[in-house]
Each structure stands twice: as C-alpha cells, then as structure tokens.
Symmetry: C2
Subunit: 331 residues, 2 copies
C-alpha cells in the first residue's frame, strides 16, 4: 500500500454481546454505558453469568477503520492479538473488511482480548473489557513507515491505561508530525479521562490536532459543569474538535467556527445496540477531512455512519456506508 487515509492504534478486542436486563447490570455492579477493565477472574465470573453470546470483532479504533473503508476510504490498523483462535477470527474480520492489518500476533503472553458487552433493552451497551494481549502493545508494534504514509494517525484513549502504550502513542505522534501528518485522539470513556486527566491534557496540547469526545468526557476532561464551558476550553486546545451528544447530534469546532450537526435517521427506525456509535462517528468525520470536505459535511458523514451502526448488533458496518452517503446526497 502507498498512501492511506487513516492508521489507527487501539485495543484489539473480540466483542461478546449478550442481551440482558437492567437488573443484570445492577446486580453485577456495572455502571451502565461505561467501560470497565476487568481481570481474568472477573471475566470468567461475568461470562458464566451472561446468557448466550454473539462474537463479533470489535475494538474501538478498529471499528473506526472498518467504517472508513466502508465509506470508500483507506485505512490501516495497529493492535495486538495472540496466535489463538480469537486472534485468527479478529485478523480475518478486519482484513475481510478491507483494513490493512499486519501487526504480528504475539506467540506468548495473554490471550486475545475480549469485551463482554451487556446490551440492555434501551439498546445501551455496558462494556467489561479483558484487555489480554492488547494490553501488551509497545513501541515495537508501531509501524513507523505506515504512520508516515497515513494522512491521519488516530489514537484510541482506551489504550492509555497502559504505560507502554502511552510511549507507543507519543512515538507514533512524533513520527506523524515529523512527516507532516495529523494526529487524532478519542477520549473513549469518562472513567478513562478520570484516570488520566493530566496526561491527556498534556498529550492534547503537545500532539493532538483533532480531538474526538462525547459531551460527558469533555466536561470531565476540563472539570467543568456545562457543555458551553467545555467548548470554550477545547476551542484553543487543538485544531479541530468533534464532540458527540447522543440523540442531540454533534458539534464540530475549528478556530472560531462552531457547527452543530443533527443526528441522521436510523435505518429501520429502531436503535438495536449503541456499541460502536462513537467509533463510527469518528470514521465519518475523518473520512470527510481526508477528502477535504467542509466541516459540516464531515459531521454528516459521522452521523450517517453512527446511525447505521446503532441499527444492528455489533460495532462495524453491515451495509455500504458509501452507498448511504450517496443516498444522503453527500457521497
């Protein structure tokens, strides 16, 4: 491959999705809508309590790369799996989606990571992630040649829990900037922001051109009580910020511009599973940016990709997003 629109780095995880009641979420002490990191013992206990599952390859940043390819762009992925059955499934699914993925599978250490995802009747997802092999990503896994060839290097906030991954991110960001490329970051989750506020603030100031977050994560980052206060803070912290607000759509900021984009209609009219909505929104925005589209159109690409994602179980596109964009008049 020569040039590529986006290379993403993140936790390579197989999603195990199960429909459960709100009572299940409460009983197992989960915070609905969040992502909790779990150890082997908790993973085994929780899995035993869950109903029959569906396995679909996931991982936040990997979902984003699948979205970019579905929109007609090009994408590559850096992430760590083991040489086990789930690792083979993971590589197959991402490659079959058209994403370039050649991070070598680990031959020892932890098993391929997985996220036990509880989908409640309101379609909200609550994630319990056993990072496994993905937590052992280091700077050695960063393909610097790939970073140099990508218009945008996209970093997943979830991976920031690992000190070795922080080093890998900083290295990737430096390589990208030295090559005249852009760096994007998603904050991923409110609890991740709580754990790493200071280093995230430094990373954004030093290395991030394009920031993705939802309203809750952004307010947590700046420790402010209102969305407007958060907007005022982020405006001069990075070049572009794209902030999602659930059913209220998204807001994109660039310099003094502020653009509000409403949500797109959900295909089929029914929200099934919100897993991956933010990942696919980021895919749409970066696809637009990589093509030099105006910021409003970038936001619409994001909304389109997110609405397709929440219309079905699983976090990767099941229909052509390029076709959806054409149908929506922005293809």
């Amino acid at each position: 491959m020569t040039g590529v629109d986006v290379v993403a780095i993140g936790n390579a995880l197989v999603d195990v999705l199960s429909n459960e009641t709100d009572e299940f979420v409460t009983r197992h002490a989960m915070v609905k809508g969040s992502m909790d990191l779990i150890d082997t013992a908790r993973a085994e206990a929780l899995y035993a309590a869950m109903g029959p599952g569906v396995e679909i390859s996931g991982g936040s940043a990997a979902n984003t790369t699948a979205g970019i390819v579905s929109l007609g762009g090009s994408a590559a992925y850096i992430g760590r799996v083991r040489d086990d059955q789930l690792g083979v499934v993971y590589r197959h699914d991402l490659t079959a989606a058209g994403v370039h993925f050649d991070t070598v599978a680990a031959t020892n250490g932890l098993a391929t990571g997985r996220s036990l995802i509880i989908v409640t009747p309101d379609a909200e997802r609550t994630m319990n992630t056993y990072l496994g092999a993905s937590s052992e990503l280091t700077v050695d896994d960063v393909d610097t040649d790939l970073i140099r060839r990508a218009a945008i290097t996209y970093l997943e906030g979830y991976l920031w829990d690992s000190p070795a991954a922080q080093d890998a991110y900083r290295h990737a960001a430096n390589v990208a900037h030295d090559a005249g490329r852009q760096v994007a970051l998603t904050l991923s989750d409110g609890f991740v922001v709580d754990r790493h506020r200071d280093t995230f603030l430094d990373l954004i100031a030093d290395s991030v051109d394009l920031l993705f977050a939802n309203d809750v994560e952004l307010q947590s980052l700046y420790e402010v009580d209102t969305f407007d206060a958060a907007i005022a803070k982020v405006r001069h912290h990075c070049t572009i910020a794209a902030i999602t607000r659930g059913a209220d759509g998204s807001v994109l900021l660039s310099g003094d511009d502020i653009i509000e984009v409403p949500v797109e209609p959900v295909p089929g009219g029914h929200v099934v599973d919100t897993t991956g909505a933010g990942d696919l929104y980021a895919a749409g925005v970066m696809h637009g940016l990589a093509r030099g589209r105006d910021l409003r159109t970038c936001g619409r690409f994001g909304g389109l990709a997110a609405s397709e994602c929440i219309s079905h179980l699983g976090a990767r596109p099941q229909t052509s997003l390029a076709d959806a964009a054409v149908a929506a008049g922005i293809g």
Copy 2:
C-alpha cells in the same frame, strides 16, 4: 438432574455466519441450501474469501435442545468440543441457554468444529462444515445414565458420516429402548441421505420411533419422485414422521393419520436467515410430544419455533418460545 424431555447427540459446531452474494456461492462451487463437509485446507481458503463473520454457537441437534428449553422443557446434549477458545464459547452458550451439557472437552486431537455459513440475500443458508473435534465422538462419550432418564433420545443425521458415531448412535438407541424410551432421528441433509441411504433405512427400521426430515430428504431416502410416494413409504417405517416443506408448512404422520400444519407468521415479517429452521421445528414437535399434546399442536409448536428462528441471524432462539406459544394460544 432427574428426568429430562430430550437428550440430543450431534456435531458440536460454532457457526461463522457471513452475508454473501449468490455469485459467491457459485464461484466457490457450493450447492446452495446444502451442507458440505470440508477439510482444513478448504476451510482456510473459504474463510479467507468470506467477509467479516459473526460467531454464534450452533450444531443442529444442540440448536434443537436450546429450542426445547426456550419452550419451557428440559434438554441435555452430548457432543464433542476441544479444550480451546471456541470450545469454551460453545459450552458457555449451550449451558447459558439452560441445556445440560457435560461431555468432557477433548484434551488432544482436532480443534473445536465450525460451520462456515453463507447467508445469501434470499435468507437461504449454505453450510461448509469443518467437523474438527466433533467428528471424533465415540461410544465412550455416550452418557448412558442420561439416555435412560430422557423421554426422547434425538440423533442428528449429520453425525452419521462418522463410523464411530454410528456405533455410538446404535448404542444410545439400544440403551433408550431398553429403558422404555423413544428414539428420534433427523435425516439432516439430502447429501447425507445419499451417502448413507442403506444404513439409514436399516437404522429407521430397527431403532427409530420418530423421524424428522424435509420433503427433499425423504424423497431421496426412498428414491421416489413425489412427496405422496415418500409419505406412503415412511408411514409404516416408524411410529411418527414429521416432514417439513419449507414455506408450505409441515406434515405429521402417525399410523393412518396425516396432519397438515401451515407455517406460522415470521416475527417482524421478514425472513433474515433460515439457518436452524429444521432444528427448531424438531424442538417444537418433541416438546409437544413430551407433554402429551396432540399431533397438530406438536406441529404448531414446531412451526412457531421455526418462524422465530428464521427472523434473525443465528440458529438458536433469541426470544422466549414459551411466551410465543402462549401468545399463539397453545402455551
């Protein structure tokens, strides 16, 4: 557990489902709607060619047991997996569905089996099965105590390709009959019937009280050109025969009785994936029989369970079939 409605023996397989075009089926030399046994090399080549997959535990007879539990009955399963990741997933899903499953996982030999299932736009499924560990089931895996406690021992025709499994089936049937229990068989697939016509005919005559088949399989079994001719043959070959005819519903035969049962409406009105339709039909019929219901009601249970199954991807119930039966007035 004490008594159990049904114990099933079959190939323990994880389904890998992918939506593909009719052209894909043709290009890879598959016979649409059938099941083809594939070796490791073919499995790898086909998997590489398939798009992103969804993994859902399957296996024909195991799907049937999950259906019986969803209807409010009790069921147990005998099948062979390896002590690998897919084996763990398989055991979890079947157990979480409420099915008793304690066949010990193999610690050596082939990996847990899987079926690469191509779902075409017409919702038809075409299966390419790598049997793996499931092909190594022997008479030693048959829990005779379990067989004695089950009202019906249900045998999956797919497994008949293995000589060791044939021995296991004959042994299970003998144990069941010695305990005064009933034995059911499903023919599973037209090509399986072609490969094993004579031994199937003998097995049915010697050991089968209740036969499941679709119209094509039944005509193949008796090498006749019409459905009526097949019906005339099967009528005196076993005690009860339950024959599915796709969109034309099913026919149940007992002695001189012949009962035609129409299909039930598909929840949501849209057929998504026909994988498992026959398995769930068998679940409904056996659930009714185990409860002493009349044959027409047994057929309606079968139709209800099948219609729920084809309304979604994957071959096991995603909603309560007991509730569906109540709603249909036969609960």
